[in-house]
């Protein structure tokens, strides 16, 4: 039995609700769909007991009615655990994980700026990556966002 299977078993043993939601598409890759309420337990278990000590990044997804967040965790030996949570778009509130991973700070700010997630407990700081005068309520990575592209028009000679 491979290490991935092992981790899958351990996860299911601890969290029964994960039994149907873990897939292993290839070696060293584990995807798990986690209910948003249980996310912190799973994260804590994965980081402390299973040795997933590296946070690769956090991906934000627009899934229609919900916003999805994938936390890409990795072990020192290259095994990756991708925890996928979904929250309602009307109230896209997630808790910060920067207490576990200080580096998550930047990734979470990205979610705030680009997807309009509300991250609870995010330490104060500059916004990233959009400019300070970016209009409120505009979230570029949402599927319904259509920024008006200002074309560089033809330059008239000696205007």
């Amino acid at each position: 039995m491979g290490e991935e299977e092992n981790i899958k078993l351990q996860l299911i043993q601890r969290f029964a609700f994960l039994s149907e939601n873990i897939s292993i598409p290839r070696t060293r890759r584990i995807f798990a769909i986690v209910p948003a309420n249980n996310f912190r337990q799973v994260l804590e278990y994965a980081t402390t007991e299973l040795g997933f000590v590296i946070l690769c990044t956090i991906t934000g997804l627009d899934e229609g009615p919900t916003l999805g967040f994938i936390y890409h965790l990795a072990k020192e030996n290259g095994v990756m655990l991708n925890l996928h949570i979904s929250v309602a778009k009307e109230k896209p509130v997630i808790k910060t994980i920067s207490n576990y991973f200080p580096a998550a700070d930047a990734y979470e700010r990205e979610l705030v700026d680009l997807l309009g997630a509300q991250v609870e407990g995010l330490p104060a700081g500059n916004r990233y990556p959009l400019p300070d005068d970016w209009p409120a309520g505009q979230y570029p990575l949402r599927k319904d966002w259509k920024g008006k592209v200002s074309e560089i028009t033809e330059v008239k000679e000696n205007a």
Binding site: R28, C56, L61, H72, G78, A103, Y128, P140, K148, N158
Partner: protein
Amino acid sequence: MPERNFKVSIGPQHPALKEPESFLLTLRGEKITEMTVRLGYNHRGVEKACEGRSYIQCLYLIERVCGICSHSHATCFIQAVEEIAGLAVPKRAQYIRTLIAELERIHSHLLWLGVAGHEIGFDTLLMYTWRDREAVMDILALLTGNRVNYGMNTIGGVRRDITPDQIPQILTAIDALEERTKYYVKVGTEEITLRERLSGVGTLSKEDATRLGAVGPTARASGVDRDTRRDDPYAAYGELDFRVITDNHNDVYGRTLVRLGELMESYKLVRQILKQMPEGPISVKAPRKVPAGEAVSRYEAPRGEDVHYVKANGTEKPERVKVRAPTLANVQVVSHMLKDGYLADMPIVIAAIDPCFSCTDRMISIVDTDRNTANTIEWNELRSIGINWYRKQGIDFTELNRNFKIARELK
């Protein structure tokens, strides 16, 4: 030195920074007491743009996320796409990708060495390393056609094969570079002013490196033994034999040694790849539509681990592409390293993570002219403001332009 607090804004435009980003430093004399970082000046909306393009178009867009590590991003992205599409990339293509990857690492590390020299006022080192770097740039141009943005990858393989007559040329260049790198190791370890400026600067303990999630040579110089090439092998790395260089100096000097060591390893790797490269096809036919699915791809770029996440929805275009460039993981680390350092060490500490902010930010904001009129000037408007300003000063380029035009037409 006056003992009062200065606020110094380094950036968005500053000679020490090759790309726009802003560091607000609070100084007490020459010591940095506080600093905040503001990134995002290079935000070009690449991730959003990918959603409106087909996979092959995305590939060239992703390749242009960064000039220096263009192959890294392209390969990382293409690996994820191939994984979703279930394409079996031919062995030879894997080897060619690895070869370009290592050549890219060589040119990137030599570039870094020069930049590091420049940041501490040692321009001679810059001139010499960049001169020698031309050897590897020539090889890259020979193999791929271009010095950067190689365009080597395509979905399902690579676009250009390595011909037998190119191999001796690569080997000669690598031998010459190895000689030179040995010399730079000597310069780095023996030249006293260089050592003085690098040692004990920007220290980062192993604990902090792990806690803050440092990646790449920055982490490895603090004794964190992580390298995606070994830990999560991709392309041909699983079949190659190489050492992961770590160092325990925990400072900029250590980072220099790690990069120099990695250069030496890369030379060995290039020789190995050329020796072991199997014969065979270089690509498989790829479908235009990629079945629904998701994949995460990791890649050890010269600056550290690059992570791409691709989600496909069964159409020609990806549903979501996420790029995590190595520098973003290291920004936190820089803030930590600069605390209580000297202003004079600021450039080299920032340079020591080999920052690449264009990678990090990835996205010009697609300016919404309706809402943002006050702050945005159209190109034409800007141009006419410029021309009129000069006219007011009594300088008019119209005549000059006309003469120029006539001269060109005559030619």
